[in-house]
Amino acid sequence: MNKLQIFNNGVTKENPILVQQVGMCATLAITTSLLNGIGMGVAVIAVLTGSNIVISLLRKFIPDEVRIPAFIIVIAAFTTIIDLLMHAYTFELYKALGVFIPLIVVNCIILARAEAFASKNSLSDSIIDGLGMGVGYLVAMILLSSIREILGNGTILGFRILPEAYEPMMMAVQPPGAFILLGLLIGIVNYVSRSKKA
């Protein structure tokens, strides 16, 4: 696989949310506005790329038996760094994302990439893989959170785009909306990928 394919693989073919469907908790919970979605997506890109780099560098030194705890410590370290950085520089966003920032550590996609890719591939490939998967995550977050913000609030990034007369669909920003809209989004992705194959 060349670099472009690795990147593309993460964004489209194996998109972590829309295709692999891992790491759904944060996706469902914080996509109530586009800003939150972008913030979470960027945080995940940072942790994913950082942990992929370190794990790829250490892959020859970590004994097989203790690899999972070792991966988790690396991921937890990066999560803590992001947590402290966001606390210091983007406090509003930090409050909005709340418990879901420390919970990046248990986002299955990061451990999955460490186990399936970074522990077996070269540094440069692992960086590309981390970026690709991270961008795929970000794209899915942007899609879902803009849909929810437009339907539920009539705004995007806080700017009103639907006329004042639009009655906001409260359901979209409430928990049920998250499940139903993500379900429909995955349905649409399935439909598109199916019709492409046919």
Partner: protein, 191 residues
Amino acid sequence: MDLVSLFITSFIVNNIIFMQFLGACPFLGVSKKIDTAAGMGIAVIFVITLASIITFIIYHTILVTFELEYLQTIVFILIIAALVQFVEMFLKKSAPGLYQALGIFLPLITTNCAVLGVAINNIIYEYEFIESLVYSVGTSAGFLLAIVLFAGVRDKVDYADLPDSLKGSAISLITAGLMSVAFLGFSGLQL
């Protein structure tokens, strides 16, 4: 807030899956058969309660004393990982049937955000020890309730005639959404 209402709030009103979205991965993954779902739910209750007790004690005795609160995430995840390993060995010896049924999902409790989420929430909400215990049991019982109910519904969904694109996780999410509407009804409950 007294303990009974804390329990009911964390059990139903703020149901961990339908309202807080913690633990959605095993929720969507394991809940295909009612008995597997129940096994998973019970394992989660056990792990969450134990993990909350241990993380609470370690946070307040060690991390606060030595001003190491920023290590919270790393320390908590290590405690949880060790604990899950212990539960796994225990089940392998004493309940091999359940161990077989849970298969891959048991190690995955480590990366079940519900466990770490509850441990962190105990700290964020500044609960006392007893409160955090009630909160943990209530929340994890809510997980068991949600996953068993969902497994029951999903059993029927499998036989429904669906558009191909919606089969699998898409319809699961939509089903979960409809169940979440039902749980939203509890949010009017004044306790």
